[in-house]
Amino acid sequence: MPRKFPEIADQFKSAVQTHSQQKEIDTLRAEVEQLRAKHSPNLETELARLREQLTSQTGEMEVETDLIDPNPSQPRQTITDAEIQKKVRFLTQQGQTVPIILIPQENGRYLIFDGEVRWRAAKFKLGWEKIKAVLVPMPDDLHRSALETFLGFEDLNPLDKAEAVFRQVKQDTELDPAKAFTLLNTCLRAMERSGQIKELGKLVDASSEAQAAKLQSLEVTDDLALKLLLSILHMGLNPASVKTQLLPMLSLADDLKEAVRKRGLKGAHALILATLSAKVLKTNEKIAAKERIKATQMVLSQDLTVAKTRELVTDIKAKYAPSTAIESKKITSLIKTLGVVIAREELQFASPEQLVELRQKLTEALEVLNKP
């Protein structure tokens, strides 16, 4: 009877762990790629059709790579070196199978409409002097708008922008704005507590792969939350600012929505004016609306700054619900600081001397508070 040797499974534990982590990341990446494809389902087919049309019309030509400039409004946020290397490999093995699409400029140079990765691989890595291309006049219709769906929402007012963003979020995650709001709040609060919120902002310019991988490492484990954050990041937006600046737009009162849409009221001003609600003013909605409309008119006609708008709103509030005590800024900031210290469990990093002193000060404060 031969003896039994120790099993080998233990030796492979960490390899198995590394492998399964990698598998998860790969799955996420694939999902992100799908999201990207979903983002603009028509763009690829549109481009293929356009390419075909152009080749039959004008024929393929060879254009010097030196005469080509990348498109400043390139819809893809980032082109990673890995992508370029992949293209290099492809071009080396198979040659250029598909022409890039160029827009002739008046100065005799060309702007890339489609094929920036191929052009970069050909010019900078492979040293090609020429590249196959077809030409297209400056687009101003369908393709242009297909591209612009990608480009962020530069010329939209904040309300339209918010609506567009949450339409996209709904498409990506099937969450309606109210549910998205709750979920976004929950996971951003968790990230604030763990101090990861800064990391999240940095992800806006990262590649989709990096975004997915990073969120993974930030331990966003809830599938839906992950989809939601990726959906927002994918539009080139910071989830934290979406929460503070865009989401509140959706719940503005109708009079403010109308002012934002038709009269150029800015987002920040609208949010301040929105605090003139029946609840805050301790009155009915009709009166609150009247005050809001009057104030909005003033903000617009006098082109008030954010600070001035805030003053105006404070004055109106004071008329309705005069505050009995003036708030102290120092106390407000102390409350905030204490909140942060507790949330981040910073007390455990304090020296014993600091703790003694802190306890003493807090006890003194309590004594003052408890005095009748």
Binding site: I8, A9, Q11, S14, V16, H19, T80, A82
Partner: protein, 266 residues
């Protein structure tokens, strides 16, 4: 061209034996094959029946020079069946120089990209330590084969190697990542209880890693004898039963080669 690295994080587990037999077996089926020796011990010289190469005609020149013009200096082995890029002891020094050079880990990959070797299959025989030379091999590879002797030292090495392949591919941003084509139990002695037990346990672990396990390459003194003549077993003892042990891997490689060829044509 399909590139495959033979990687093992332990010495004496049959890397070179596997490399030359695969190279020969695939070339017999009508594919052109080249074999590069990335081990400063340059043991492929002996396996391929070639006299040692001068440093300036070896892989140490190819990876070391900053001005590579495509002189791969491949030597024909076994009546020209396979072309061999020989190694040299200086490659050890070159390896440490690469560590400080720009794109050091990508040197082989860049060389192959700017001056491709005209062959269907390129086999890279790697040193036993996971350093700069193995990174170069990984960076240039589509596939990786992991020969492993069913004994504690080699098994532990293989476990580390699998994890290393994943992390190194990520750090080098290899896209697509080289695929571990399989684990190849080598120098297998069916009379050793430990070999039998480990062979039994291996498939379950490999399944968790999504890697297949090939049938084992048996231990045979004829492998040692044939290396003394610088020949693959196929030429030294045609019809020896151990020749069949390479069949499964050879078949898989040929399938992949045909597939890539078909893609190219279409």
């Amino acid at each position: 061209m399909l590139t495959i690295s033979i990687l093992a994080n332990a010495g004496g587990v049959g890397k070179s034996t596997l490399a030359i037999h695969l190279a020969y077996a695939v070339s017999r089926l009508g594919f052109s094959v080249a074999l590069l020796d990335l081990d400063p011990q340059h043991s492929l010289d002996r396996f391929c029946g070639l006299p040692p190469a001068e440093a300036e005609h070896s892989m140490s020149q190819i990876l070391g020079t900053k001005n590579f013009k495509g002189e791969w200096n491949l030597k024909p082995a076994w009546d020209g069946q396979v072309l061999v890029g020989q190694s040299h002891i200086d490659l050890a020094q070159v390896s440490s120089d690469l560590a400080t050079r720009r794109r050091g880990s990508y040197t082989l990959r860049d060389r192959l990209q700017s001056h491709p070797i005209a062959c269907d299959l390129l086999v890279l025989d790697c040193p036993a330590t996971l350093g700069m030379l193995c990174e170069n091999a990984l960076g240039a590879s589509d596939l990786v084969l992991v020969p492993v002797q069913l004994e504690p030292k080699s098994i532990g090495g293989a476990a580390d190697l699998v994890a290393w392949c994943i992390t190194a591919s990520n750090e080098l941003q290899l896209e697509p990542r080289p695929k571990i084509q399989g684990i190849v139990p080598s120098i297998y002695n069916k009379d050793a209880a430990i070999h039998r037990q480990y062979l039994e346990q291996l498939p379950e672990i490999a399944a968790q890693l999504d890697i297949q396990v090939y049938p084992p390459i048996r231990y045979s003194k004829e492998f040692v004898n044939t290396s003394a003549y610088g020949l693959p077993l196929y030429k030294y003892r045609p019809g020896h039963p151990a020749c069949d042990d390479f069949e499964a891997i050879t078949r898989d490689l040929v399938t992949i080669l045909k597939k890539t060829h078909a893609q190219k044509v279409s």
